[in-house]
């Protein structure tokens, strides 16, 4: 499965798609990236006159790359055209260290902890363009075809 195919299976679209590309993927983990466009709607309100990417949006970006893209790759043998994987976020725990400003590119690195009984749990880290750790944590979800 190519990285472009993985992205084509994602059930998201603008303004809530937070994956630009996948740099590497195998059965143990995934690396992907996204650039937060300064025109994104959430900057209008977070914060007043001082745009900073909301932590929930960073978490969403990490979940879309680290959990959903990886999950689609892991399910690849059962995937068919027109068949969308069913998914639900079930838990996350996240620590934040640095802000992400408009137009910053971030890289998400996820390692699979366990994928059994339809549940995928990953350790996920997000880095900025300077390769500084922005946030890290655990994300889990249920995923099946």
């Amino acid at each position: 499965m190519t990285t472009t195919e993985i992205i084509s299976y994602l059930p998201y679209t603008a303004p809530f798609l937070f994956v630009d590309g996948i740099d590497a993927v195998d059965a143990t983990g995934i690396t992907g990236h996204y650039t937060f466009n300064a025109d994104s709607y959430f900057y209008k309100g977070h914060f007043k006159n001082r745009p900073v990417t909301p932590g929930v949006i960073l978490t969403e970006c990490m979940a879309q790359i680290g959990l959903v893209c990886l999950g689609i790759y892991l399910l690849k043998d059962g995937l068919k055209e027109g068949l969308e994987p069913q998914l639900a976020l079930t838990a996350h725990q996240m620590d934040f260290y640095l802000p992400v400003l408009p137009n910053e590119k971030v890289t998400v690195v996820a390692e699979k902890e366990v994928f059994r009984f339809h549940k995928l749990k990953c350790n996920v880290k997000l880095y900025n363009a300077k390769n500084e750790l922005v946030c890290r944590g655990k994300i889990a979800g249920m995923l099946k075809l």
Binding site: A88, T90, V114, R116, K119, A140, M142
Partner: protein, 83 residues
């Protein structure tokens, strides 16, 4: 392992995932993880994984499907430990 000890170990494992505290207080062998304790399917996977770690056993899909009550969990764990 004696029954009471097994129940205590299972109770410790399921505690973090219980949504119905009253049903948990009144737990018996017939207590159903999903219907009574309101443990959701995602957390039921956590219960299974924690049981594997606690008892050093491996559970499969069939075990997962059968493990719906305290009693069925005790039976499956006991069978694996004796197997």
């Amino acid at each position: 392992m004696i029954k009471a000890e097994l129940i205590e170990k299972l109770k410790a494992i399921i505690t973090p995932y219980v949504q119905d505290e009253v049903a948990f207080k009144n737990l018996t062998e017939d207590t159903d993880f999903i219907k009574d304790l309101k443990i959701n399917s995602a957390n039921l996977v956590d219960v299974i994984l924690d049981i594997e770690d606690e008892f050093d056993i491996r559970l499969d899909n069939q075990d997962m499907e059968q493990m719906l009550t305290v009693k069925s969990a005790m039976d499956i764990v006991t069978a694996k430990l004796n197997g």
